[in-house]
Symmetry: C2
Subunit: 197 residues, 2 copies
DNA sequence: AACGCTGCTTGACACAGTGTCAATTGACGA
DNA sequence: TCGTCAATTGACACTGTGTCAAGCAGCGTT
């Protein structure tokens, strides 16, 4: 529990984040992380019980580095639903590229590890809450298109914003982040905002 | 090469498809498939060089069973872009649930196996071509909203229809297949079809 | 009846990557 | 000098894929 101990833990997290970013979250093994940190593979296990636990800690670590809370502030401060919707999409569209490596690693670990699946689900539920907040405000403004309930609109928005969509558009189709944000915003507005009819 | 050989191959494919459907494409091992088929694990390797090769063959096998071509006929026969768009989404929305197990297995294998990634990409490119055909027709009808090029609209439609979106809406959000088709159709129309302006 | 071919079985093994265990070292403080 | 604690080292278990070699059973030839 000495400061040396904490320091090593932080160094592991730093190299984990760095390597995952570098390699797009693929093929980074415990031994690679150890080597990068300059310690033995077993030493990593003295700080994190499993690969999944390390990945989960890495996402939290990265959120702190990126100062997630202050990034969320603008959308939280929005006064209208329309504004909140746009600001939330903007936040999310600029957040994904920054966390992509770590997120992808967790996404892959999910396939074989239940704990990773749970951790990922938790994050996605938090994101869903963000969608819900925007939709609810839109609804109470009277701007939600009539064919939607707040519930179904939340589901739909949440799904649209999922990482694989961002991944496909930017990695496969070559879209830029602003293009992605632009498209998402346009589609969301057209889909969820009702006219005065 | 005798008929016995072919028969065993078919039996393997049948049990592979059955098991993958049953288990949602997860956790089905070569040994499980062998046991289900009633042969030894090594016998499977006499017919398929690798797990990935078996999975790829299973998708083809399933397409034959489902008669993919005749399922595609209606959308191919459409005369307007708007009609083709709707019929293609309808086809795809009812096709995914039928192939989900096998598709998911290939999707998972993709993470560790380049050959699986290539096979999956091929299928997705075929799907993308279907999207392109609908968008092109829409475009030549003069019904494509002005902010889109055929290229970007194809990318966007293709992404919307990706399996993870179906997966999220039906598995996580509990939507039914008709609900999914309905939503996709509505969003696609609102997004891609331009008014008379 | 002996022959070979074919499809399959059996069992052993290599390989990766995760995770565990036990013995040891080296530094630091009381 | 002793105890503690982080870290090292090396061996090992486990899982699932894929490989290899020997053997066997049935079947048709000649």
């Amino acid at each position: 529990m000495s400061s040396k101990n904490i320091e090593t833990r932080t160094r592991i997290l730093d190299s984990t984040v760095r390597m995952l970013e570098e390699h797009g979250g693929r093929g980074v093994r415990m031994g690679d992380i150890a080597k990068e940190t300059g310690i033995s593979r077993q030493a990593v296990y003295l700080h994190f019980a499993s690969r999944t636990e390390l990945l989960v800690a890495a996402t939290r670590h990265l959120d702190e580095i990126l100062d997630l809370d202050s990034r969320l502030a603008p959308s939280r401060a929005a006064t209208t639903g329309i504004e909140r919707l746009a600001l939330y999409i903007d936040h999310w569209g600029r957040y994904i590229p920054d966390i992509y490596g770590v997120a992808k690693a967790l996404l892959l670990a999910r396939d074989t590890d239940d704990a990773a699946a749970t951790a990922w689900n938790d994050r996605m539920q938090a994101m869903r809450d963000g969608c819900r907040a925007a939709i609810e405000l839109l609804h109470s403004d009277g701007d939600l298109a009539t064919e939607w309930t707040p519930q179904t609109a939340t589901d739909a928005l949440w799904t649209m914003l999922l990482v694989p969509n961002w991944e496909n558009l930017t990695q496969e189709c070559g879209w830029s982040t602003p293009q992605y944000v632009d498209w998402m915003t346009t589609v969301a507005k057209r889909t969820f905002i009702g006219g005065p009819d």
